[in-house]
């Protein structure tokens, strides 16, 4: 990290990233050689149980790449990811992914089952959950996301806000220790945002929330991570970041 850090000691990390590096290769023209772009350059941080952290940064800062790396969904990532203290490897990835729920930015990427119920049940079924426990998990997740009445609807007939909530229910049904949310507030109107803040604020898992909306981040998170050009340049209190206008401008946040 290049800037000063005011991070509090993390007692029991439910999620830990150690020195993550990832490089994208582009070839602008045939024969022009490969252009290397570091999407993550030595990113390290840890999340304690129940902690809510905003992951901020301008477009292309590497936030989405970081989220995908935390679940082992990108190949050729250097560094280590520990979920609930266990090192993420290929052979335990399927099991550990149940502990880290990733909400995708576009809900249409996530919702592919014929009914809302089936989509929310997709994750638990992959974990071998069925019968009454499956029913109860799905009902609880739908209730937590505030969409119980949509259970039998087709995802394709929902509004963007409803789709986002159903996608969130699909993640909650996995009963994760950590939620990684990729711009959950994108394309929501002000009322949708307020409702989402209330919904997320009532949830118990730790959260890593990617957003461009500082007001949304402030309302939900007490801690902020700021990425710029693949580097983690700030790890500290959300309030401290909000009061530092120079830093906000420097990293394209304001």
């Amino acid at each position: 990290m290049s800037d000063e850090s005011v991070a509090a000691p993390v007692p029991v990390p439910v999620l830990e990233a150690r020195n993550l590096h990832y490089v994208y290769q582009h070839e602008h023209a045939p024969g022009a050689g490969k252009h290397l772009h570091a999407a993550m350059d030595g990113v390290s941080f840890a999340l304690a149980a129940g902690e809510r952290v905003a992951l901020l940064g301008a477009n292309g800062a590497g936030k989405s790449t970081l989220l995908l790396s935390l679940l082992g969904l990108l190949k050729r990532v250097d560094g280590e990811v520990l979920i609930a203290g266990e090192l993420l490897r290929r052979k335990n990835a399927r099991r550990l992914r149940a502990k880290l729920g990733l909400l995708f930015q576009d809900p249409d990427d996530q919702l592919f089952n014929p009914t809302v119920f089936d989509d929310v049940a997709f994750g638990p079924r992959n974990l071998g959950v069925d019968g009454d426990e499956l029913q109860s998990r799905v009902r609880r997740a739908l209730a937590d996301a505030g969409v119980s009445e949509l259970a039998e609807r087709s995802p394709m007939r929902l509004s963007v806000g409803q789709k986002k909530r159903v996608a969130l229910a699909g993640v909650l049904a996995m009963q994760p220790d950590v939620l990684a949310l990729d711009e959950p507030d994108a394309a929501l109107d002000p009322r949708g945002r307020r409702e989402l803040i209330a919904t997320l604020g009532a949830l118990s898992p730790a959260m890593l929330v990617v957003t461009h909306d500082l007001a949304f981040a402030s309302a939900l998170c007490e801690r902020a991570l700021v990425m710029d050009q693949g580097k983690l340049v700030f790890d500290g209190e959300m309030r401290a970041l909000m009061s530092d206008e120079a830093k906000l401008l420097q990293h394209g946040l304001a």
Partner: protein
């Protein structure tokens, strides 16, 4: 054009809406096969099939407008093809007919082929339309899986159906964005823009597929569309409906010989 594309299915509480998808699939697919066995001479058997199909449609309590909203799509090209058949059929022993006294003679065999095509295609669209109006798409795919279609094939069909709507909406957005920037296809070379839209759509579809697979992996999936189709047994009412329908079709096809 609405960005909110609709399924053919219409919400309802009719006896057909409540029937198991397997029963409706078997009954709907049996009728086109039965009429294939009926010669044109036995016109009464076609009339009886129409009566059966109309009873089924009436039981669905759907409106004709709902049926015609999509039925014209397969019927119009079929009807156009049928109208041309008499002019291309060879004269044979069955002779020729003076068309409406105009002096234009067409083969009787061609007119028979036209009538057969019109009757069979209309019947098929009517029963399959009734099936689609009263059965949710995912129930049709689940029904196919329960009838023995390999699960992976049923899952692929269901996923393709879902993505068809996503891509159709994506295409509409691209077309609107293109038109908003003054695109009007007035000249032949303007058509190249359609190719560019198709190319962009292909790339987007590829990226969407990649993101979809990641979303499946993120929820501990295998990366395949592992959809769940519940097993359930047919009710007595379903068995009875199937027996009556299939019995009537077999009797009609047999009598028409």
């Amino acid at each position: 054009m609405s960005l909110h594309l609709r399924e053919i299915y219409v919400e309802g509480e009719s006896v057909l809406h409540r029937m198991d998808a397997r029963t409706k699939l078997i009954c709907a697919l049996a009728l086109p096969f039965a009429v294939l066995a009926m010669p044109l001479d036995a016109s009464w058997s076609y009339a009886a099939c129409f009566a059966l199909a109309l009873v089924a449609f009436t039981l669905s309590r759907c409106h004709w407008r709902e049926l015609l909203r999509f039925a014209w799509i397969p019927l119009v090209p079929l009807f156009i093809a049928a109208l041309f058949l008499p002019f291309f059929a060879q004269n044979d022993a069955s002779g020729s007919v003076n068309l409406f006294g105009s002096g234009v003679r067409v083969a009787r065999q061609g007119i028979d082929a036209t009538l057969l095509l019109l009757a069979r295609s209309t019947l098929t669209v009517l029963v399959l339309g009734t099936l689609a109006l009263t059965t949710k798409a995912h129930e049709i795919f689940a029904g196919l899986a329960r009838l023995g279609l390999p699960k992976r094939a049923a899952q692929s069909l269901a996923l393709s159906f879902r993505l068809t709507f996503v891509f159709a909406e994506e295409t509409l957005r691209m077309v609107r964005a293109r038109d908003a920037r003054g695109y009007r296809p007035r000249f032949v070379w303007s058509v190249s823009a359609i190719g560019r839209v198709a190319g962009a759509l292909f790339l987007r579809a590829y990226a969407r597929g990649e993101r979809l697979q990641r979303a499946m992996l993120a929820r501990s999936g295998s990366g395949h569309a592992d959809m769940h189709f519940e097993t359930r047994s047919l009710s007595r009412r379903d068995w009875l409906a199937m027996a009556v329908w299939l019995g009537a079709l077999v009797a009609l096809a047999w009598s028409a010989q």
